[in-house]
Amino acid sequence: MASLPPIDLPSNATGSGAFDTPALEEGPALFEYLLRLGDDALILGQRLGEWCGHAPSVEVDLSLANFALDLIGQATHFLDRAGEVEGKGRDGDALAFRRDVLDYRNCWLVEQPNGDFARTMARQFLFSTWQKLLFRHLLSSKDPLIAGVAEKAVKEVTYHEELASEWVIRLGDGTEESRRRIEDGLAWNWRFVPELFESDPLTSFLAERGIGADPAAFRADYDARIRSVLAEAMLDPPADQRPILGGRRGHHSEHLGHLLAVMQFLPRTYPDSKW
Protein backbone atom coordinates (compact mmCIF):
# COMPACT_ATOMS: atom_id res chain seq x y z
CA MET A 1 0.00 0.00 0.00
CA ALA A 2 2.75 2.45 0.92
CA SER A 3 5.23 3.65 -1.62
CA LEU A 4 7.91 4.36 0.99
CA PRO A 5 9.09 1.97 3.72
CA PRO A 6 8.48 2.80 7.38
CA ILE A 7 11.34 4.17 9.44
CA ASP A 8 13.57 1.46 10.93
CA LEU A 9 13.45 1.43 14.69
CA PRO A 10 16.52 0.72 16.80
CA SER A 11 16.49 -2.98 17.63
CA ASN A 12 18.43 -2.63 20.84
CA ALA A 13 16.41 0.03 22.63
CA THR A 14 15.95 -0.72 26.32
CA GLY A 15 14.68 0.98 29.48
CA SER A 16 11.36 2.72 29.44
CA GLY A 17 10.47 5.24 26.82
CA ALA A 18 10.05 5.77 23.14
CA PHE A 19 10.94 2.91 20.78
CA ASP A 20 11.31 0.34 23.52
CA THR A 21 10.18 -3.21 23.04
CA PRO A 22 8.38 -4.56 26.11
CA ALA A 23 9.59 -7.80 27.62
CA LEU A 24 7.88 -10.71 25.95
CA GLU A 25 6.57 -12.27 29.12
CA GLU A 26 2.89 -12.69 29.73
CA GLY A 27 2.50 -10.04 32.48
CA PRO A 28 4.43 -7.13 30.92
CA ALA A 29 3.10 -7.96 27.44
CA LEU A 30 -0.50 -7.95 28.65
CA PHE A 31 0.08 -4.67 30.50
CA GLU A 32 1.45 -3.11 27.33
CA TYR A 33 -1.43 -4.44 25.23
CA LEU A 34 -4.04 -3.15 27.68
CA LEU A 35 -2.37 0.27 27.47
CA ARG A 36 -2.69 0.22 23.69
CA LEU A 37 -6.38 -0.67 23.89
CA GLY A 38 -7.07 1.76 26.72
CA ASP A 39 -5.04 4.68 25.36
CA ASP A 40 -6.66 4.51 21.91
CA ALA A 41 -10.07 4.79 23.57
CA LEU A 42 -9.05 7.41 26.12
CA ILE A 43 -7.35 9.77 23.70
CA LEU A 44 -10.09 9.61 21.09
CA GLY A 45 -12.68 10.05 23.84
CA GLN A 46 -10.89 13.19 25.00
CA ARG A 47 -10.65 14.51 21.43
CA LEU A 48 -14.35 13.96 20.82
CA GLY A 49 -15.15 15.66 24.11
CA GLU A 50 -13.62 18.82 22.64
CA TRP A 51 -16.64 19.00 20.33
CA CYS A 52 -19.06 19.26 23.23
CA GLY A 53 -21.01 22.48 22.74
CA HIS A 54 -19.35 23.18 19.37
CA ALA A 55 -20.83 20.61 16.98
CA PRO A 56 -22.80 21.77 13.92
CA SER A 57 -26.15 20.73 15.45
CA VAL A 58 -27.41 19.57 18.81
CA GLU A 59 -27.98 16.03 17.49
CA VAL A 60 -24.37 15.79 16.33
CA ASP A 61 -23.21 17.28 19.61
CA LEU A 62 -25.05 14.52 21.48
CA SER A 63 -23.67 11.85 19.18
CA LEU A 64 -20.06 12.91 19.62
CA ALA A 65 -20.45 13.24 23.39
CA ASN A 66 -21.97 9.75 23.50
CA PHE A 67 -19.10 8.34 21.43
CA ALA A 68 -16.72 9.94 23.90
CA LEU A 69 -18.61 8.41 26.81
CA ASP A 70 -18.45 4.93 25.29
CA LEU A 71 -14.75 5.28 24.58
CA ILE A 72 -13.90 6.59 28.04
CA GLY A 73 -15.90 3.68 29.48
CA GLN A 74 -13.75 1.25 27.48
CA ALA A 75 -10.62 3.08 28.60
CA THR A 76 -11.64 2.85 32.25
CA HIS A 77 -11.98 -0.93 32.02
CA PHE A 78 -8.76 -1.46 30.07
CA LEU A 79 -6.62 0.89 32.16
CA ASP A 80 -7.95 -0.36 35.50
CA ARG A 81 -7.08 -3.87 34.38
CA ALA A 82 -3.66 -2.70 33.13
CA GLY A 83 -2.98 -1.32 36.61
CA GLU A 84 -3.94 -4.66 38.20
CA VAL A 85 -1.72 -6.59 35.81
CA GLU A 86 1.17 -4.22 36.46
CA GLY A 87 0.76 -4.70 40.22
CA LYS A 88 2.33 -1.40 41.26
CA GLY A 89 -0.78 0.08 42.82
CA ARG A 90 -1.78 2.23 39.85
CA ASP A 91 -5.44 2.30 38.83
CA GLY A 92 -7.02 3.59 35.64
CA ASP A 93 -7.05 7.18 36.88
CA ALA A 94 -3.36 7.05 37.80
CA LEU A 95 -2.53 5.69 34.36
CA ALA A 96 -4.71 8.24 32.58
CA PHE A 97 -3.64 11.33 34.50
CA ARG A 98 -0.09 10.69 35.65
CA ARG A 99 1.69 9.41 32.59
CA ASP A 100 3.53 11.62 30.14
CA VAL A 101 3.57 11.52 26.36
CA LEU A 102 6.33 8.93 26.02
CA ASP A 103 4.40 6.46 28.17
CA TYR A 104 1.24 6.63 26.06
CA ARG A 105 0.68 3.73 23.69
CA ASN A 106 -2.16 4.98 21.50
CA CYS A 107 -1.98 5.10 17.72
CA TRP A 108 -1.35 8.41 15.95
CA LEU A 109 -4.78 8.51 14.34
CA VAL A 110 -6.66 9.14 17.59
CA GLU A 111 -4.45 12.00 18.77
CA GLN A 112 -4.84 14.03 15.58
CA PRO A 113 -6.60 17.37 16.05
CA ASN A 114 -10.30 17.47 15.28
CA GLY A 115 -9.93 19.90 12.39
CA ASP A 116 -13.33 20.64 10.91
CA PHE A 117 -16.33 18.35 11.31
CA ALA A 118 -15.45 16.44 8.13
CA ARG A 119 -11.94 15.68 9.33
CA THR A 120 -13.32 14.47 12.66
CA MET A 121 -15.78 12.20 10.86
CA ALA A 122 -13.07 10.89 8.53
CA ARG A 123 -10.95 10.00 11.56
CA GLN A 124 -13.95 8.36 13.27
CA PHE A 125 -14.81 6.36 10.17
CA LEU A 126 -11.25 5.06 9.80
CA PHE A 127 -10.94 4.29 13.52
CA SER A 128 -14.38 2.83 14.34
CA THR A 129 -14.31 0.53 11.32
CA TRP A 130 -10.99 -0.80 12.61
CA GLN A 131 -12.04 -0.95 16.25
CA LYS A 132 -15.18 -2.93 15.51
CA LEU A 133 -13.21 -5.57 13.61
CA LEU A 134 -10.61 -5.65 16.38
CA PHE A 135 -13.23 -6.16 19.09
CA ARG A 136 -14.90 -8.89 17.07
CA HIS A 137 -11.57 -10.72 17.08
CA LEU A 138 -11.10 -10.05 20.77
CA LEU A 139 -14.45 -11.65 21.67
CA SER A 140 -12.58 -14.95 21.96
CA SER A 141 -9.66 -13.52 23.95
CA LYS A 142 -8.54 -15.76 26.78
CA ASP A 143 -8.29 -12.70 28.99
CA PRO A 144 -11.80 -12.45 30.50
CA LEU A 145 -11.66 -8.67 30.89
CA ILE A 146 -10.65 -8.09 27.28
CA ALA A 147 -13.31 -10.53 26.03
CA GLY A 148 -15.94 -8.99 28.32
CA VAL A 149 -15.27 -5.41 27.26
CA ALA A 150 -15.16 -6.47 23.61
CA GLU A 151 -18.53 -8.18 23.96
CA LYS A 152 -20.17 -5.04 25.35
CA ALA A 153 -18.27 -2.52 23.28
CA VAL A 154 -18.71 -4.17 19.89
CA LYS A 155 -22.38 -3.23 20.01
CA GLU A 156 -21.56 0.39 20.86
CA VAL A 157 -18.81 0.68 18.27
CA THR A 158 -21.22 -0.64 15.64
CA TYR A 159 -23.21 2.57 16.21
CA HIS A 160 -20.06 4.66 15.90
CA GLU A 161 -19.12 3.03 12.64
CA GLU A 162 -22.62 3.38 11.21
CA LEU A 163 -22.93 7.04 12.10
CA ALA A 164 -19.45 7.94 10.86
CA SER A 165 -20.01 6.02 7.61
CA GLU A 166 -23.33 7.77 7.06
CA TRP A 167 -21.61 11.15 7.47
CA VAL A 168 -18.80 10.22 5.09
CA ILE A 169 -21.47 9.32 2.54
CA ARG A 170 -23.57 12.41 3.21
CA LEU A 171 -20.59 14.75 2.94
CA GLY A 172 -19.00 12.97 -0.03
CA ASP A 173 -22.24 12.84 -1.96
CA GLY A 174 -23.36 16.29 -0.81
CA THR A 175 -22.34 19.75 -1.98
CA GLU A 176 -19.13 20.77 -3.65
CA GLU A 177 -17.87 22.18 -0.38
CA SER A 178 -18.83 19.18 1.78
CA ARG A 179 -17.13 16.92 -0.73
CA ARG A 180 -13.96 18.98 -0.71
CA ARG A 181 -13.90 18.94 3.07
CA ILE A 182 -14.37 15.19 3.48
CA GLU A 183 -11.73 14.58 0.81
CA ASP A 184 -9.35 16.81 2.77
CA GLY A 185 -10.27 15.06 6.01
CA LEU A 186 -9.63 11.60 4.57
CA ALA A 187 -6.37 12.72 2.98
CA TRP A 188 -5.18 14.14 6.31
CA ASN A 189 -5.93 10.96 8.26
CA TRP A 190 -4.97 8.40 5.62
CA ARG A 191 -1.28 8.18 6.53
CA PHE A 192 -2.17 6.97 10.03
CA VAL A 193 -4.08 3.89 8.86
CA PRO A 194 -1.04 1.59 8.30
CA GLU A 195 -0.16 1.92 11.98
CA LEU A 196 -3.50 0.32 12.90
CA PHE A 197 -2.37 -2.81 11.08
CA GLU A 198 1.19 -2.88 12.29
CA SER A 199 2.16 -6.28 13.64
CA ASP A 200 5.05 -6.29 16.08
CA PRO A 201 6.55 -8.91 18.42
CA LEU A 202 3.99 -8.00 21.05
CA THR A 203 0.89 -8.52 18.89
CA SER A 204 2.34 -11.80 17.59
CA PHE A 205 3.20 -12.98 21.10
CA LEU A 206 -0.29 -12.28 22.42
CA ALA A 207 -2.10 -13.51 19.30
CA GLU A 208 -0.26 -16.84 19.55
CA ARG A 209 -1.49 -17.18 23.12
CA GLY A 210 -5.08 -16.34 22.22
CA ILE A 211 -5.07 -13.14 24.28
CA GLY A 212 -4.64 -10.46 21.64
CA ALA A 213 -5.47 -10.19 17.96
CA ASP A 214 -3.13 -9.90 15.00
CA PRO A 215 -4.57 -6.99 13.01
CA ALA A 216 -3.32 -8.56 9.78
CA ALA A 217 -6.17 -11.06 10.24
CA PHE A 218 -8.78 -8.41 9.42
CA ARG A 219 -6.92 -6.11 7.04
CA ALA A 220 -8.82 -7.41 4.00
CA ASP A 221 -12.18 -6.96 5.74
CA TYR A 222 -11.20 -3.42 6.68
CA ASP A 223 -10.11 -2.45 3.19
CA ALA A 224 -13.31 -3.88 1.72
CA ARG A 225 -15.49 -1.98 4.18
CA ILE A 226 -13.65 1.30 3.63
CA ARG A 227 -13.78 0.91 -0.15
CA SER A 228 -17.49 0.15 -0.09
CA VAL A 229 -18.36 3.25 1.97
CA LEU A 230 -16.11 5.47 -0.14
CA ALA A 231 -17.74 4.12 -3.30
CA GLU A 232 -21.17 4.94 -1.91
CA ALA A 233 -19.87 8.40 -1.01
CA MET A 234 -18.64 8.82 -4.61
CA LEU A 235 -15.13 9.33 -3.27
CA ASP A 236 -11.85 7.88 -4.46
CA PRO A 237 -9.53 6.52 -1.78
CA PRO A 238 -6.79 9.09 -1.06
CA ALA A 239 -3.37 8.54 -2.57
CA ASP A 240 -1.12 6.38 -0.41
CA GLN A 241 1.32 8.33 1.71
CA ARG A 242 4.34 7.39 3.71
CA PRO A 243 2.93 5.64 6.79
CA ILE A 244 3.72 7.12 10.18
CA LEU A 245 4.38 4.60 12.92
CA GLY A 246 5.61 4.70 16.48
CA GLY A 247 2.64 5.43 18.76
CA ARG A 248 2.68 1.88 20.16
CA ARG A 249 6.24 2.49 21.31
CA GLY A 250 5.60 5.93 22.78
CA HIS A 251 6.64 8.07 19.83
CA HIS A 252 3.88 10.60 19.20
CA SER A 253 3.02 13.71 17.26
CA GLU A 254 3.30 17.08 18.98
CA HIS A 255 -0.49 17.10 19.34
CA LEU A 256 -0.61 14.52 22.14
CA GLY A 257 1.26 16.69 24.65
CA HIS A 258 -1.19 19.54 24.16
CA LEU A 259 -4.12 17.16 24.59
CA LEU A 260 -2.64 15.72 27.80
CA ALA A 261 -1.97 19.21 29.16
CA VAL A 262 -5.69 19.95 29.00
CA MET A 263 -6.80 16.50 30.14
CA GLN A 264 -4.36 16.20 33.04
CA PHE A 265 -4.27 19.77 34.29
CA LEU A 266 -6.91 19.42 36.99
CA PRO A 267 -5.89 16.06 38.52
CA ARG A 268 -2.25 17.11 38.51
CA THR A 269 -2.95 20.48 40.09
CA TYR A 270 -5.18 19.02 42.78
CA PRO A 271 -4.02 15.40 43.17
CA ASP A 272 -6.57 12.95 44.56
CA SER A 273 -9.25 15.62 44.93
CA LYS A 274 -12.77 14.36 45.42
CA TRP A 275 -16.14 16.01 45.27
Binding site: E59, I72, E156
Partner: protein
Protein backbone atom coordinates in the same frame (compact mmCIF):
# COMPACT_ATOMS: atom_id res chain seq x y z
CA UNK B 1 -36.83 -9.26 56.78
CA UNK B 2 -37.52 -8.50 53.13
CA UNK B 3 -35.85 -10.82 50.68
CA UNK B 4 -32.80 -9.46 48.87
CA UNK B 5 -34.71 -9.51 45.61
CA UNK B 6 -37.55 -7.49 47.15
CA UNK B 7 -35.01 -4.90 48.34
CA UNK B 8 -33.48 -4.65 44.85
CA UNK B 9 -36.93 -4.30 43.30
CA UNK B 10 -37.25 -1.03 45.25
CA UNK B 11 -34.03 0.47 43.80
CA UNK B 12 -34.88 2.80 40.91
CA UNK B 13 -32.70 3.35 37.88
CA UNK B 14 -31.10 6.77 38.51
CA UNK B 15 -31.71 8.03 34.95
CA UNK B 16 -35.17 6.53 34.47
CA UNK B 17 -36.57 6.40 38.00
CA UNK B 18 -39.89 4.80 37.01
CA UNK B 19 -38.27 1.42 36.55
CA UNK B 20 -36.25 -0.58 39.04
CA UNK B 21 -32.83 -2.07 38.48
CA UNK B 22 -34.51 -5.49 38.48
CA UNK B 23 -36.97 -4.49 35.75
CA UNK B 24 -34.07 -3.03 33.77
CA UNK B 25 -32.51 -6.49 33.80
CA UNK B 26 -29.13 -5.53 35.20
CA UNK B 27 -29.47 -7.77 38.27
CA UNK B 28 -28.11 -11.04 36.95
CA UNK B 29 -28.09 -13.17 40.04
CA UNK B 30 -29.18 -12.95 43.65
CA UNK B 31 -27.58 -15.30 46.16
CA UNK B 32 -27.51 -15.28 49.97
CA UNK B 33 -24.08 -13.63 50.06
CA UNK B 34 -23.74 -11.83 46.76
CA UNK B 35 -25.60 -9.95 44.08
CA UNK B 36 -24.24 -9.90 40.53
CA UNK B 37 -25.02 -6.88 38.36
CA UNK B 38 -24.04 -6.11 34.79
CA UNK B 39 -23.59 -2.60 33.37
CA UNK B 40 -25.86 -1.42 30.56
CA UNK B 41 -23.34 0.58 28.51
CA UNK B 42 -19.57 0.46 28.94
CA UNK B 43 -19.31 4.13 29.79
CA UNK B 44 -22.71 4.74 31.35
CA UNK B 45 -22.13 7.08 34.30
CA UNK B 46 -25.24 5.64 35.97
CA UNK B 47 -23.42 2.35 36.57
CA UNK B 48 -21.53 3.64 39.60
CA UNK B 49 -24.61 5.37 40.97
CA UNK B 50 -26.59 2.16 40.60
CA UNK B 51 -23.98 0.21 42.51
CA UNK B 52 -24.00 2.79 45.29
CA UNK B 53 -27.80 2.87 45.44
CA UNK B 54 -27.95 -0.93 45.66
CA UNK B 55 -25.31 -0.86 48.41
CA UNK B 56 -27.31 1.71 50.39
CA UNK B 57 -30.55 -0.25 49.96
CA UNK B 58 -28.96 -3.53 51.03
CA UNK B 59 -27.25 -1.92 54.01
CA UNK B 60 -30.37 -0.27 55.31
CA UNK B 61 -32.33 -3.52 54.91
CA UNK B 62 -29.79 -5.37 57.04
CA UNK B 63 -27.79 -6.99 54.24
CA UNK B 64 -24.39 -5.46 54.92
CA UNK B 65 -22.74 -8.85 54.38
CA UNK B 66 -24.06 -9.19 50.83
CA UNK B 67 -21.35 -8.36 48.30
CA UNK B 68 -22.04 -6.68 44.96
CA UNK B 69 -20.11 -8.06 42.02
CA UNK B 70 -20.03 -6.77 38.47
CA UNK B 71 -20.02 -9.15 35.50
CA UNK B 72 -19.30 -7.88 31.98
CA UNK B 73 -20.16 -11.12 30.27
CA UNK B 74 -22.71 -12.06 29.10
CA UNK B 75 -23.24 -8.47 27.99
CA UNK B 76 -26.47 -6.79 29.02
CA UNK B 77 -29.10 -6.58 26.32
CA UNK B 78 -32.42 -4.76 26.19
CA UNK B 79 -34.03 -8.20 25.81
CA UNK B 80 -33.55 -8.46 29.58
CA UNK B 81 -35.91 -5.57 30.34
CA UNK B 82 -39.02 -7.15 31.85
CA UNK B 83 -42.54 -6.82 30.41
CA UNK B 84 -43.49 -4.75 33.44
CA UNK B 85 -40.44 -2.56 32.82
CA UNK B 86 -41.49 -2.02 29.20
CA UNK B 87 -45.01 -1.08 30.24
CA UNK B 88 -43.65 1.45 32.74
CA UNK B 89 -41.26 2.95 30.19
CA UNK B 90 -44.13 3.50 27.75
CA UNK B 91 -46.31 5.07 30.46
CA UNK B 92 -43.37 7.39 31.32
CA UNK B 93 -43.13 8.55 27.68
CA UNK B 94 -40.18 6.43 26.55
CA UNK B 95 -40.79 3.99 23.72
CA UNK B 96 -39.51 0.58 24.86
CA UNK B 97 -36.88 -1.16 22.74
CA UNK B 98 -38.36 -3.02 19.81
CA UNK B 99 -37.21 -4.70 16.65
CA UNK B 100 -40.60 -3.98 15.06
CA UNK B 101 -42.00 -0.54 14.13
CA UNK B 102 -41.44 2.06 16.84
CA UNK B 103 -44.74 3.20 18.34
CA UNK B 104 -45.25 6.69 19.71
CA UNK B 105 -45.64 6.42 23.50
CA UNK B 106 -48.07 9.37 23.42
CA UNK B 107 -50.60 8.38 20.76
CA UNK B 108 -49.58 4.83 19.81
CA UNK B 109 -49.04 5.62 16.12
CA UNK B 110 -46.37 3.68 14.25
CA UNK B 111 -45.84 6.68 11.93
CA UNK B 112 -42.58 7.62 13.62
CA UNK B 113 -39.08 8.64 12.53
CA UNK B 114 -35.62 8.97 13.99
CA UNK B 115 -34.33 12.48 14.70
CA UNK B 116 -31.02 11.48 16.22
CA UNK B 117 -29.36 8.15 16.93
CA UNK B 118 -28.21 9.50 20.29
CA UNK B 119 -30.13 11.23 23.03
CA UNK B 120 -29.82 12.41 26.61
CA UNK B 121 -28.32 9.12 27.81
CA UNK B 122 -26.34 6.40 26.01
CA UNK B 123 -29.34 4.07 26.01
CA UNK B 124 -31.79 6.40 24.26
CA UNK B 125 -32.33 7.83 20.78
CA UNK B 126 -34.49 10.80 19.82
CA UNK B 127 -37.54 10.09 17.73
CA UNK B 128 -40.58 12.01 16.54
CA UNK B 129 -44.17 11.00 15.86
CA UNK B 130 -45.51 12.06 12.48
CA UNK B 131 -49.12 11.57 13.63
CA UNK B 132 -49.19 13.67 16.81
CA UNK B 133 -45.93 15.59 16.11
CA UNK B 134 -44.57 14.89 19.60
CA UNK B 135 -40.86 14.18 19.98
CA UNK B 136 -40.02 11.28 22.28
CA UNK B 137 -37.18 9.13 23.55
CA UNK B 138 -36.73 5.60 22.27
CA UNK B 139 -34.90 3.10 24.45
CA UNK B 140 -32.52 1.71 21.82
CA UNK B 141 -32.44 -1.98 21.05
CA UNK B 142 -29.08 -3.08 22.32
Amino acid sequence: MESIRAVLAQVPDPEIPVISVVELGIVRSVEPHRVVITPTYTGCPATRVIERDIRDALDSAGYRHVAIETALSPAWTTDWISEEGRRKLRAYGIAPPTKAAVECPQCGSAETEEISRFGSTPCKAQWRCRACAEPFDLFKCH
